[in-house]
């Protein structure tokens, strides 16, 4: 096997105009169907973003469908509705307000591992490149145990452990993501991230916000440059970042103007500018042969976890 080092080309090729059309079309159909179209709208949007992201000029594919997500939504609504109903009954009916509210929070906390697990399983198996699927091999029980542990630590440290929670979670997730027979790893150290947040915060305050652009760059670089893809043949791809504070400034300032002066309707252009910048700043380099990736991951059809996350606005990755 030749170990030839190469650079891989990652790009976002969408445009503000195209995204605007996607949004408007989705919105029209959602309005006409009084909201029922939403799962299909979500699938359409995801398909758009995947199709407009290319690796070596070949697009990714999202093969999830509105129908799958619709089923997931029904289940998600039932689950959330039931939990909410029980808590409301406890609060209003049994008049045990504190118990009811605590129960609701406990429920939401407990839901997090389910959401993460379900979302990843569904989205990864529905993502592919050159026909090769991604996959998620994490175990729900493991994740629940981990989340409980990390949540406990976070509470005990008044939130400081939250940074470690995030990094640990990312490490766990990446360890379990597959792209065909390629594996992922996240090797960032939480203490470093904590430092970035901590020092960055003060610097932003002292420079009256000017440092923000460097801060964003530091956080972005932390995530990008600590990600690795590797396989059983000792081949790997590492990710370098070419993002500069200047570029961030240009894009963000431009986005603010665009969004404000169009009363929000210019958002698709703003979003596209951001995507283009961030994705093209990721420079993968390594010696994995893109012609030699094997199909290993299964199809997973249940979108419930994804849709619960959507309803509760949990964001994964």
């Amino acid at each position: 096997m030749e170990l030839v080092k190469q650079n891989y080309d990652l790009k976002h090729i969408g445009s503000g105009k195209e995204l605007f059309k996607v949004f408007i079309t989705n919105w029209l159909l959602t309005v006409i169907t009084l909201g029922l179209y939403y799962p299909w709208a979500k699938a359409n949007t995801m398909q758009y973003f995947y199709q407009k992201t290319t690796l070596n000029n070949e697009a990714f594919t999202f093969s999830g469908t509105g129908k799958e997500m619709f089923k997931g939504f029904i289940k998600a609504i039932l689950i959330i509705g039931m939990a909410y109903g029980i808590c409301m009954f406890i609060i209003l009916g049994l008049k045990m307000q504190i118990v009811g509210v605590l129960l609701l929070y406990a429920f939401l906390f407990a839901l997090l591992p389910f959401v993460i697990h379900g979302t990843l399983k569904y989205r990864m198996s529905r993502s592919s490149w050159r026909g090769i699927r991604f996959g998620y091999r994490g175990q729900l029980k493991e994740l629940i145990g981990n989340c409980l542990k990390w949540t406990l630590f976070t509470i005990l440290t008044f939130g400081i452990y939250g940074v470690w929670y995030e990094v640990n979670l990312r490490k766990y997730i990446f360890k379990n993501i597959r792209f065909g027979n390629q594996k992922f790893e996240f090797k960032g150290e939480a203490s470093k991230l904590f430092g970035i947040y901590f020092i960055g915060y003060f610097l932003c305050v002292f420079t009256l916000g000017i440092y923000t652009f460097w801060w964003i760059k530091d956080i972005f670089n932390f995530y990008v440059e600590n990600t690795k893809v590797y396989n059983d043949n000792d081949e790997e791809i590492i990710f370098k970042s070419s993002l500069t504070a200047g570029e961030i400034f240009k894009v963000l300032m431009g986005n603010i103007f665009i969004t404000i002066f169009t009363l929000g309707f210019g958002a698709p252009w703003a979003i596209t500018r951001s995507y283009k910048l961030y994705i093209s700043s990721i420079k993968p380099t390594g010696n994995i042969n893109l012609n030699a990736i094997e199909q290993t991951e299964a199809n997973y059809k249940d979108a419930t976890g994804d849709d619960i996350g959507d309803l509760l606005e949990f964001d994964v990755i």
Partner: protein, 347 residues
């Protein structure tokens, strides 16, 4: 029959293979690894990604970047013709038109369709709901304010002298505050601030206020407003894809009560019924007029929260004035009510 050039992925590896394929009668044929492969295009997923057409069969894919127009011609009847794709491909001005139309329709619906629908739904809601909401709110509210127990007692004695439709449901409370305000909860609890009592000069004004607030209770105005704004909020949330708000809006309900302003229609209703209440109790309707005048007095502006939720006080004073000049009223001074009023002011 044209030979099209494409890149084939066999679904088990990411290796790209250049292939030549033909399309004939909805059949796509090509050679791979010395084998003839035939796909029935009716069982394939065909995606038009502008710069590339992707044809997928099970896990296998053929991507085409060249000769797209001709390929589209052969695939025309097979490509995804959903509404979504048809609208998506249209020109920008079509989308802009759609945008403006939707906003216009949403605005109209929100102003003219949702409120009456919501109001029609209210009779379906049992009165016990009103009581629960009101009680729940009062439980929290009463812990945050100072209730003047002496005045409250006197005020309730005052109430007992009046003719009410459902006296057992109405509970009056006096809260110590400079604010010139009074409001009614859905469970029949009426809170009156000492601020508004202080600007009153006679029992007729108090009767006018009580009549007005009781009318709000009798007509379930609080719940109607609540349902209207909730449905309005939910309507807009659904249509702006803000699904999480729907789950969140239910949590906001109870806190909205004190900030709800009644619609003009509801205030007019309350005024009319309030007037009936005054007459039923043989009181002097001039009290309503003087009360409104006081409320619209600019010197009371700063501390008059009631003015912000009752912006038409001047207009409504005028209405009463018209009524008064057109009607002779038989009213009698009720010594008990007068005595209790004086007691209330001086306690």
């Amino acid at each position: 029959m044209t030979n099209f050039k494409g890149t084939y992925y066999n679904g088990t590896s990411s290796k790209s293979n250049d292939v030549l394929f033909t399309i004939n009668n909805d059949n796509l044929k090509f050679i791979y690894n010395s084998n003839y492969i035939n796909w029935d295009l009716n069982n394939c997923l065909i995606q038009d990604n502008t710069f590339e057409i992707s044809i997928k069969f099970l896990d296998q894919t053929i991507n085409v970047k060249n000769n797209l127009e001709e390929l589209k011609g052969s695939l025309k009847h097979l490509t995804d013709n959903s509404f979504y794709n048809k609208i998506l491909k249209s020109k920008l001005y079509v989308h802009l038109t759609i945008l403006v139309s939707i906003i216009g329709m949403l605005y109209l619906a929100n102003q003219h369709i949702i409120p009456p629908l919501a109001e029609k739904a209210v009779p379906l809601i049992p009165k016990s709901f009103d009581n629960t909401i009101g009680e729940s709110y009062f439980n929290d509210y009463s812990k945050l304010v100072k209730i003047d127990t002496l005045k409250t007692k006197t005020l309730n004695k005052f109430k007992e002298q009046l003719k009410l439709n459902n006296p057992e449901k109405i509970n009056l409370y006096v809260v110590t505050s400079n604010q010139i305000n009074a409001f009614c909860l859905p469970n029949g609890s009426i809170i009156i601030y000492t601020g508004i009592l202080n600007i009153m000069d006679n029992e007729n004004e108090l009767i006018a206020l009580l009549g007005h607030e009781i009318a709000h209770y009798n007509n379930r105005h609080s719940i109607k407003s609540l349902i209207k704004s909730t449905s309005s909020y939910m309507f807009l949330s659904i249509l702006t894809n803000d699904m999480a708000s729907i789950t969140g809006v239910m949590a906001d309900n109870i806190n909205m009560l004190q900030n709800l302003s009644f619609s003009r229609k509801q205030e007019n209703e309350a005024d009319t019924e309030g007037l009936d209440f005054i007459l039923k109790n043989n009181a002097n309707p001039k009290g309503m007029y003087t009360l409104f005048n006081k409320l619209s007095d600019e010197s009371n502006f700063k501390i008059s929260e009631i003015l912000s939720t009752h912006p038409d006080a001047k207009k409504r004073a005028k209405k009463i004035e018209n009524y008064l000049s057109n009607n002779k009223n038989n009213y009698s001074k009720n010594p008990t009510l007068h005595r209790l009023f004086v007691k209330l002011k001086n306690e």
